[in-house]
């Protein structure tokens, strides 16, 4: 079976399910607007007129971080959430009884979430620009997309590790909660990593989100080329090469254990 066709099957399934909740789409759009409004007024309140954050207008700086974080949260928690949902709904066993590979089930389960989050990210940026006056470098959008894809791969590996925890321990929330907390503290989402001080800033360099937010802001907001972000991109690629195989290996171990224990459908 073509892997991509299999991914397409999951996307169609989840899109149809989500589309059946019509109000949710409207609520999601309204939610984005409200969230952006909060982050528009908070820096206005806290910072002096004309202040900049890392050379960018405050709202634009926040937009880069929170839009990226909202998107990456799907990669981080989406796998675990989807696996848990399949367990709760009883469909995981039905899928595992088919010839579909574990990797297809894992990646396929979040493919629609990624697409939907990419749409949400686009809405964040569009609303941020049209309504709240953020400035982006349109010419650097392709470069920003490359950063996004590479970051998604890295966070997918972490997300698959969390999904493996769901399969192994039947709970993965503490893991994603912990990882999410560390990422948000050190990753430069709500404040620059430089605010952490030199020692903690050194720790931040080991957090993939730090490189992601830096490269994403530099390209989308600062107009930087991909070439100027080689360092951060190399770090993200390195993290991806580590966590994706590790995540898939752990997923196989977790599924193997669930099959040995007979707990594939348990939650």
């Amino acid at each position: 079976m073509s892997w991509l066709r299999g991914i397409g099957a999951f996307i169609v399934r989840d899109a149809l399910e989500d589309l059946s909740y019509r109000t949710a789409f409207l609520m999601n759009t309204v939610g984005i607007l409200l969230f952006l409004a909060v982050w528009y007024f908070v820096p206005k309140f806290l910072l002096a007129q004309g202040a900049e954050v890392e050379g960018l207008p405050p709202f634009s700086w926040f937009l880069g971080g929170i839009a990226l974080w909202q998107f990456l949260n799907v990669a981080l928690s989406g796998f675990a959430r989807r696996i848990r949902k399949e367990q709760l709904s009883g469909t995981l066993e039905a899928m595992m009884a088919t010839p579909a590979r574990t990797s297809l089930v894992l990646f396929g389960s979040t493919a629609w979430d990624f697409l939907f989050s990419a749409l949400s990210l686009a809405l964040y940026v569009l609303f941020g620009v049209w309504i709240f006056g953020a400035q982006i470098a349109v010419a650097s959008i392709p470069a920003a997309i490359v950063v996004l894809v590479l970051t998604s791969l890295c966070f997918s590996g972490i997300g698959i590790l969390a999904a493996s925890a769901i399969l192994y321990f039947k709970r993965g929330d503490p893991i994603t909660f912990l990882v999410s907390g560390v990422m948000q503290l050190f990753g430069g989402v709500y404040f620059p990593a430089s605010a952490l001080g030199p020692r903690l800033q050194a720790v931040a360099e080991w957090i993939p989100l730090t490189h992601a937010t830096r490269a994403f802001r530099a390209t989308l907001l600062g107009g930087a080329s991909l070439g100027s972000q080689v360092g951060d991109l190399a770090a993200l690629a390195g993290f991806s090469l580590l966590v994706i195989p590790l995540g898939l290996a752990m997923a196989r171990v977790a599924i193997g254990r669930a099959r040995r224990d007979g707990t594939l459908a348990h939650y």
Partner: protein, 329 residues
């Protein structure tokens, strides 16, 4: 391809029960209690056969079905599906269709057709070929009119028929049915059994393994049976097995006086009641008429005083048989 469609050799499954917090505190390094769900299960199913796994709740039927479908790994032995190890890879799963009596295994906010389309794609079917297959199966299972309805709105019978349709999407040679009529009313159950017998086996030549605790279903549908209790096969044989064991659905109790007929196996059991009285418990074979049993009862010269049907004893008899089988020798 020669050889059995499906066979198991020394199949066993032991689960380790999770320790409670108290046990964990008292014995942190001891492993949990081991629960033997299956032990030394060996049988083969020939191509085109309907093989029944008959047993009470908790006997290990579902565990066995899940091992055969690769959802659970065995602790001992192996299961082979048309030459492919059931525990390794996708080869065995391609040859199997699984029907589980769990309507949680569908997406309730998708239609019947959408559900089939998704699972069909997981089997590698796409485009017009998949659409034709779905239309064909919906028609065979009388679900065409409901194809565009949400699964959530399906009746229990419709859900079970959709489960059969899903199992047939990739046209597997072997079907595993785990208590397929458990939640169905008698009419729907009969219809499904007829579909299995006439369509799947009779017309399509499929091999079917059915797990059930319904004695009548096992007797009428299966060409061969294995009775499973506490994870072990306690009896196996041809279709007349239940009758031979005295577990046949059609049972009669005849009481008389005088010379008593002789016991002839569990299907013709005579018990003395004292004072020249006797009781005969007889199980009729399919097609056998009561008159022949009465003739045999009178053959010794005694007189018959009463004759009554005792259908309700079948489950009791089965329970008694299981208890006898589990007793240490």
């Amino acid at each position: 391809m020669t050889g059995p469609a499906l066979e198991t050799a020394g199949l066993g499954k032991t689960f380790v029960r999770r320790k409670s917090l108290g046990e964990l505190a008292r014995h942190p390094f001891a492993s949990g209690e081991r629960v033997r769900a299956l032990a030394d299960v060996s049988f083969g199913v020939a191509r085109g056969e309907v093989f029944g796994l008959l047993g009470p709740n908790g006997a290990g039927k579902t565990t066995l079905i899940k091992i055969l479908s690769g959802l659970i790994l065995p602790t001992d032995g192996r299961a082979v599906i048309e030459g492919a190890d059931a525990s390794r890879g996708a080869e065995a799963r391609k040859r199997l269709g699984l029907v589980i009596a769990d309507d949680r295994s569908f997406y309730w906010r998708l239609t019947g057709a959408q559900n089939l389309r998704f699972f069909g794609r997981l089997h590698g079917l796409y485009g017009n070929a998949l659409e034709r297959r779905i239309a064909h199966l919906l028609e065979r299972l009388d679900l065409t009119a409901a194809a565009g309805s949400l699964f959530a709105n399906y009746s229990t019978g419709m859900r079970q028929r959709l489960a059969v349709a899903r199992a047939l999407l990739h046209d597997p040679p072997i079907l595993l049915l785990d208590e397929p009529t458990r939640s169905l009313d008698p009419v729907a159950a009969r219809s499904l059994r007829r579909f299995v017998q006439d369509e799947l086996v009779g017309r399509d030549g499929k091999t079917v393994l059915i797990a059930t605790h319904n004695l009548h279903e096992a007797e009428t549908l299966c060409t061969r049976l294995a009775i499973i209790a506490r994870g072990r096969i306690v009896a196996s044989g041809e279709a007349g097995l239940l009758r031979h064991l005295g577990l046949h659905a059609d049972r009669w109790r005849i009481e008389g006086t005088g010379a008593a007929p002789a016991t002839d196996g569990a299907a013709f059991r005579v018990e003395g009641l004292g004072a020249d009285r006797w009781r005969l418990d007889a199980a009729l074979a399919p097609g056998e008429i009561l008159d022949r049993v009465l003739e045999r009862a009178r053959a010794a010269g005694g007189r018959i005083h009463s004759c009554e049907r005792v259908d309700s004893d079948l489950e009791e008899a089965f329970e008694e048989f299981i208890q006898r089988a589990e007793r240490p020798q």
